[in-house]
C-alpha cells in the first residue's frame, strides 16, 4: 500500500492518509480532505484529486453540494475545476469583481472575474462584453444558495467550432462517468447504440488493444487499471500470472502506478495474487 503514494511524494508534496492531495486553491484543502474521507463509503480510492471537467451550465445548476463548503458533485464525481462555454447575457461591474451572466442554452449562471486594478495596461485581462461567446475556466461556488463560478481564465471564442467541441466533450465526459469508458469488449456494444461519434481518442486509447476479449469492467475502474487488466488477459502466461515489474516494464508504466491499478483490480475481485503479493493473474469465472 505504501508504494501507492510514491508518485505523489516525488511530486514534491506529501499526502495524507485521508486521500486528500491538496486543494485546488489553498483554502480548499480542509474541505477536500473531508470530502475524501467522508463521502466515499467503503473506502473507494480517489486518484488524481484535481480535475478540470468540461460541463454544461445545467450540470452546474444540478450539481450537489454534499455539505456546505464541500466540492460539488456531478455524476457522483467531485468537481474541482470546470470549464464552460456560453454567451455573455449581462455584465455588471462591481467594486472588486465583474459579474457576468453566462448562458449556454442549457441554463444561466453567474461568473465572477476579479478586478486586478494594479495590473499594467498591457497585461489587463480580456473583459467580455454582452453578446460575446466566451470559454470560462473556474471553480463552482455556492453562497447563500446562489451559485457562481469564480473564474481563473476567460477567453473570447473566435472559432465557433469550440462551442460544438465543448458540448460534445462535456457529453463524452458525462457518459464516461455514468456508463464507463469506451473500448475493449465494451466498445462494440456501445457503438451499436449509436454513440459511435463519441469515440474519443483520450478514452479509447487508454483501453489498449482494441477488440481485446473480456468482460465489461465497472465504470469506476481507472484507465490504467483497465490497461493492466487487458494486458493480463491478452498476454500469454502460465498459471502463475505476471509479476508487477514485468507488467510495468512491458506497458511502460511506473511500478507504483501498476501497484495502484493492482489494488483497484484486487479490490474488485477481478484479479488475484498467485506466488506472492506482486504476481497477479486474471480471475476467470
Amino acid at each position: 500500500m505504501s508504494m501507492y503514494y510514491y508518485g505523489y511524494n516525488a511530486g514534491g508534496y506529501t499526502t495524507t492518509s485521508y486521500g486528500a492531495q491538496g486543494g485546488a486553491d489553498g483554502g480548499g484543502f480542509l474541505g477536500g480532505s473531508q470530502a475524501g474521507s467522508q463521502d466515499t463509503p467503503g473506502g473507494t480510492k480517489r486518484y488524481g484529486q484535481d480535475t478540470l471537467r468540461p460541463v454544461t451550465i445545467k450540470q452546474l445548476l444540478d450539481a450537489v453540494f454534499p455539505y456546505p463548503d464541500a466540492e460539488a458533485k456531478v455524476d457522483g464525481t467531485s468537481l474541482t475545476q470546470v470549464d464552460l462555454v456560453g454567451r455573455v447575457s449581462t455584465v455588471s461591474a462591481q467594486a472588486t469583481n465583474t459579474t457576468y451572466k453566462i448562458d449556454d442554452g442549457t441554463g444561466v449562471i453567474e461568473v465572477k472575474q476579479w478586478v486586478d486594478g494594479d495590473a499594467p495596461p498591457e497585461l489587463q485581462k480580456y473583459t467580455p462584453k454582452e453578446g460575446d461567446y466566451v470559454h470560462v475556466w473556474g471553480k463552482l461556488k455556492e453562497f447563500n444558495n446562489r451559485r457562481h463560478v469564480g473564474s481563473h481564465v476567460i477567453h473570447p471564442i473566435t472559432d465557433f467550432n469550440e462551442i460544438s467541441y465543448h458540448l460534445l466533450h462535456a457529453t463524452a465526459v458525462h457518459l464516461y462517468f455514468t456508463r464507463g469508458p469506451l473500448g475493449g469488449a465494451n466498445g462494440a456494444a456501445v457503438k451499436s447504440e449509436g454513440q459511435g461519434m463519441f469515440v474519443d481518442g483520450g478514452y479509447g486509447a487508454t483501453n489498449g488493444a482494441p477488440g481485446a476479449v473480456g468482460k465489461k469492467l465497472p465504470p469506476r475502474i481507472s484507465p490504467i487499471a483497465r490497461k493492466v487488466y487487458e494486458f493480463l488477459q491478452s498476454t500469454p502466461q502460465n498459471n502463475e500470472g505476471l509479476h508487477v515489474h514485468n507488467i510495468s516494464h512491458q506497458l511502460n508504466i511506473p511500478a507504483n502506478e501498476v501497484f495502484k491499478a493492482g489494488d483497484e483490480l484486487l479490490g474488485e475481485g477481478l484479479i488475484y495474487t498467485t506466488l506472492d503479493d506482486e504476481t497477479w493473474a486474471v480471475l476467470e469465472y
Binding site: 445545467k58 448562458d103 442554452g105 442549457t106 441554463g107 444561466v108
Partner: protein, 107 residues
C-alpha cells in the same frame, strides 16, 4: 437558486416538436430576401428577421428564435459564425443534446 431557462439546440427536423418554444438553430444561410431568410440546418428553415439581424449568405449563423405554428422561426438574436463552421459537429451536438437530455435541458 439561479433561474433555469434552457434553450434547446435543434435542427429542422425538430421544429414541429418545439412550436411556441425558444430554440437555437445553427446552420448555413442559403438565401436572404427582405425580412425573411432561408437557413440550411439538415433541411430548410425559414426565419423571419428582425431589424438587427444581418445575415450573410454562405456564412454560418446561430439563430436564437421562437418557433411559430407554421414552423417558421422568429429571430430574437442572430450571430454570424463565419465560413469555417463544422456543420457535422453542430449536428452532432443537436443529436447529443436530445439523446442525453439530462445534462442539457429541463423539460
Amino acid at each position: 437558486m439561479a433561474e433555469q431557462i434552457s434553450t434547446p439546440r435543434i435542427t429542422s427536423q425538430y421544429l414541429d416538436a418545439f412550436t411556441g418554444k425558444t430554440v437555437i438553430i445553427t446552420g448555413k444561410v442559403t438565401q436572404t430576401r427582405g425580412d425573411t431568410a432561408l437557413i440550411d440546418s439538415e433541411g430548410v428553415v425559414t426565419v423571419l428577421l428582425n431589424r438587427d439581424s444581418h445575415l450573410k449568405p454562405g456564412n454560418a449563423v446561430e439563430i436564437v428564435g421562437k418557433v411559430n405554428q407554421d414552423l417558421t422561426v422568429k429571430v430574437l438574436m442572430a450571430t454570424d459564425m463565419g465560413t469555417n463552421l463544422d456543420y457535422a459537429a453542430v449536428n452532432a451536438v443537436v443529436d447529443a443534446t436530445h439523446r442525453y437530455k439530462e445534462i442539457f435541458y429541463t423539460e
